[in-house]
């Protein structure tokens, strides 16, 4: 045990004597994690940038103008109106906007044919590199279009016009003496009655604000979204609570990269021969190396926790957080040592130490949220220690995991560390 501690202390002393190494092992991970946390806050919905889109209204009708107006006033969209379609397409091609939304000719009429089964159609030409935003845009346009539809049920004049259009379309396609024709006729009569009733109510309530095409209180479906409360605290998670775990995983990775090249550095210095000709076992030597890396990782994560709390993160369960920090540090350091076993030079070890964790971070949701990833990535994410580190930290901060649920991420990370350590012991080449 004395030798393991001596090796660890020696590594930490060597680290402390190299200012650049101190920055990249301790300081940079903290900065990187905080930067990542701030960047991810946008994706989580806290102060993120609005989506840039261009909009062309080719219909120039009252309904289309109202729809464009709704887009311009929506806080999640930043709308520019180009002079023409080609200018709009150029904006997309140059990456200035995510999509060109086109309100085609006939949009207003389509809205008028709402009760005749006509579909309102919008078009969008999207930047192919921003497909995720295209998905968000589709949802937003549906929401705004539906808002326009709802006005048909609250604006008597609009309803009358829609009903009249529908009757004309029906007359051209269905015989009104048939059961089907009579059914639709009755339906339109009911709508006409509703319209007259709405007009009467609005006339009686003079001075009350009328229902406009852009407003209205009727909505057949209302979706109430609530964030999962934080354990027993009955409060929603903040954006820092959500973004910090990913930032922490990145900080951890930055810290272990340095220790992946520890053995290669000993080989370069020539001191590896002194380690290997000592009476210490291979496991003891590696244990000392792992301990040094572990201590450095715990220090980094401690600094990250302090930084995160300054940014507003609130920890729901401190014992769990301490446990997952220790398990994640053990897992990542053991893993980096296994990677180091496959490199003979510092450059090789550094390259492997960066490349492999980078891939694991991607498939583990450490870069793009898993929700945006292809199904294949989501299926294999279970093999990524990033996923479990993030999940465990989330569990301690806002997911409110039970002790039984918490055992899984801790166990996986500890198991990864132990297995990786065993691989390193077996694989590490002592010879020049």
């Amino acid at each position: 045990m004395r030798a393991i501690i001596a090796i660890a202390l020696n590594d930490l002393r060597l680290l402390a004597r190299d200012k650049a190494a101190v920055f990249f092992t301790l300081g940079f991970p903290v900065l990187f994690a905080l930067f990542f946390t701030m960047a991810m806050r946008g994706m989580s919905g806290g102060g993120g940038a609005a989506m840039d889109i261009a909009v062309m209204d080719l219909d120039k009708s009252v309904p289309s103008a109202a729809l464009v107006g709704d887009m311009q006033t929506d806080s999640s969209l930043k709308v520019v109106t180009p002079e023409g379609l080609e200018e709009g397409r150029a904006l997309v091609r140059r990456g200035k906007v995510a999509a060109l939304v086109i309100v085609p000719q006939g949009f207003g009429e389509q809205m008028g044919g709402l009760f005749a089964g006509q579909t309102m159609k919008l078009e969008a030409e999207v930047d192919p590199s921003r497909q995720a935003e295209a998905g968000l845009l589709t949802g937003k346009l549906n929401q705004l279009a539906f808002k326009q539809m709802s006005s048909a049920f609250t604006d008597p004049g609009q309803m009358d016009r829609a009903v009249e259009n529908a009757r004309k379309m029906l007359a051209g396609s269905v015989n009104e003496d048939t059961p089907q024709g009579k059914a639709f006729g009755g339906f339109y009569d009911s709508l006409g009655g509703l319209s007259r009733e709405l007009s009467r109510i609005q006339a009686e309530e003079k001075g009350e604000p009328g229902v406009t095409a852009g407003g209205g209180g009727f909505s057949p479906v209302v979706v109430e979204i609530r964030s999962l409360s934080r354990g027993d605290k009955k409060e929603p998670a903040t954006t820092s609570d959500i973004a910090f775990p990913q930032g922490m995983a990145w900080g951890l990775m930055s810290c272990v990269v340095g220790f992946a090249s520890s053995f290669a550095a000993e080989r370069r210095r020539g001191t590896l021969v002194r380690l290997t000709t000592s009476p210490l076992s291979r496991a003891t030597l590696l244990g000392g190396k792992v301990l040094g890396g572990f201590v450095a990782c715990v220090v980094v994560m401690g600094l990250l926790i302090v930084g995160a709390m300054v940014m507003g993160t609130r920890v729901a369960n401190w014992p769990f957080l301490v446990a997952i920090v220790l398990c994640a540090a053990a897992g990542f350091v053991g893993f980096s040592l296994a990677l180091a076993a496959f490199a003979r030079t510092e450059e090789g070890a550094g390259g492997i130490g960066r490349a492999v964790p980078m891939v694991l971070a991607m498939i583990g949701g450490g870069t793009i949220p898993l929700a945006f990833m292809p199904e294949t990535f989501r299926r294999v994410s279970d093999i990524s220690p990033f996923k479990w580190a993030i999940y465990g930290v989330e569990g301690a901060i806002w997911r409110g995991l039970t002790p039984g649920e918490f055992v899984l991420p801790c166990g996986i990370l500890l198991g990864l560390g132990l297995v990786s350590f065993a691989v390193g012991v077996r694989r590490l080449s002592w010879t020049d």
């Binding site: 020696n10 060597l14 000709t277």
Partner: protein, 294 residues
């Protein structure tokens, strides 16, 4: 103390050590003399267990055990040809760390570190970082790291490579003191002067093969050829060389230079005498057809 039996080691198609057998007695300084690339460092590597022989065996200590065993490694001290110290640490920190790896601790560790630094002449620079040491000082620290735990067998691989003459003499003195204290030393070098100065026995190695083994006198006597005695007589004698060249200097090649000198002294006035005895350079030349420094 150390025995190698027909050890062989290859790296791919290149045979680095080809059937070397030797034994080093306890308390002896054994020199392995050969040019660069002869197989000296590979032999050292097998003796300390970092390289595994492809064939043959290496046995260390009274028990004749493999150098890979921890109890054997405690008896070994190695000063590799490439410096093996931490530039970022001080001399004292280096020795304390290496001593800890060897199982030392507490007051015993501190005392051994201080004594070892004193023995290699680095006490006054003990608390300075190694990065600021001269090449000779780093070599001495490299040697000290091999000695701090008091091993019974010390393996020194070209310990004076690249050092100044003062540091070289200091290291050679250190080796002689070790031997006089009972420590066994395996010393590799390509400098014949060092082998002649400090080694009790020398093995000549080239291209992975041990060509000859014995004391310096034995090797010179067997392979070094004859001594050359040059006698300059007093002026006026007009003596010629033994071969009749008439230069005033008599040159005699003989295996018994002292007897020849006595004979010449008896025949006339001798103004000056030089005797060039064969050395290990001549031995190597005789064995390989090449100079040590080719």
């Amino acid at each position: 103390m150390l025995e190698l039996v027909e050890v062989k080691k290859s790296f791919g198609p290149r045979v680095a050590v080809d059937g070397v057998s030797l034994s080093v007695k306890t308390g002896e300084v054994f020199g392995l003399l050969g040019p660069n690339g002869a197989g000296k460092s590979t032999t050292i590597g097998m003796c300390i267990g970092v390289l595994r022989p492809d064939a043959g065996s290496v046995r260390v200590g009274a028990g004749g055990l493999s150098p890979e065993r921890p109890e054997v490694r405690r008896q070994l001290g190695v000063a590799p040809q490439s410096l093996a110290v931490y530039d970022e640490l001080t001399g004292r920190e280096n020795l304390a760390y290496f001593g800890t790896l060897q199982g030392l601790s507490g007051a015993d560790l501190r005392e051994r570190v201080a004594r070892t630094l004193e023995s290699v002449g680095l006490s006054d620079r003990a608390n300075d970082r190694v990065a600021g040491y001269s090449g000779g000082m780093k070599r001495r620290l490299n040697l000290a790291a091999a000695l701090v735990h008091g091993p019974g067998l010390v393996l020194l691989d070209e310990p004076t490579a690249g050092v100044d003459p003062q540091s070289r003499n200091s290291i050679l003195d250190m080796v002689r003191r070790l031997a006089s204290g009972g420590t066994t030393v395996l010393y590799t070098t390509h400098y014949m002067e060092e082998a002649e100065k400090v080694c009790d026995r020398v093995g000549i190695i080239d291209n992975g093969r041990l060509l000859a083994l014995g004391t310096v006198d034995e090797l010179v006597g067997r392979f070094g050829g004859e001594s050359v005695v040059r006698i300059r007589r007093a002026a006026g004698r007009g003596e010629s060389d033994a071969d009749g060249a008439g230069s005033g200097v008599t040159t005699i090649r003989t295996a018994q230079p002292i007897r020849e000198l006595e004979r010449e002294l008896a025949t006339g006035t001798v103004a000056s005498v030089t005797i060039d005895r064969p050395d290990l350079e001549a031995v190597f030349l005789s064995l390989t057809g090449r100079s040590l420094r080719d």
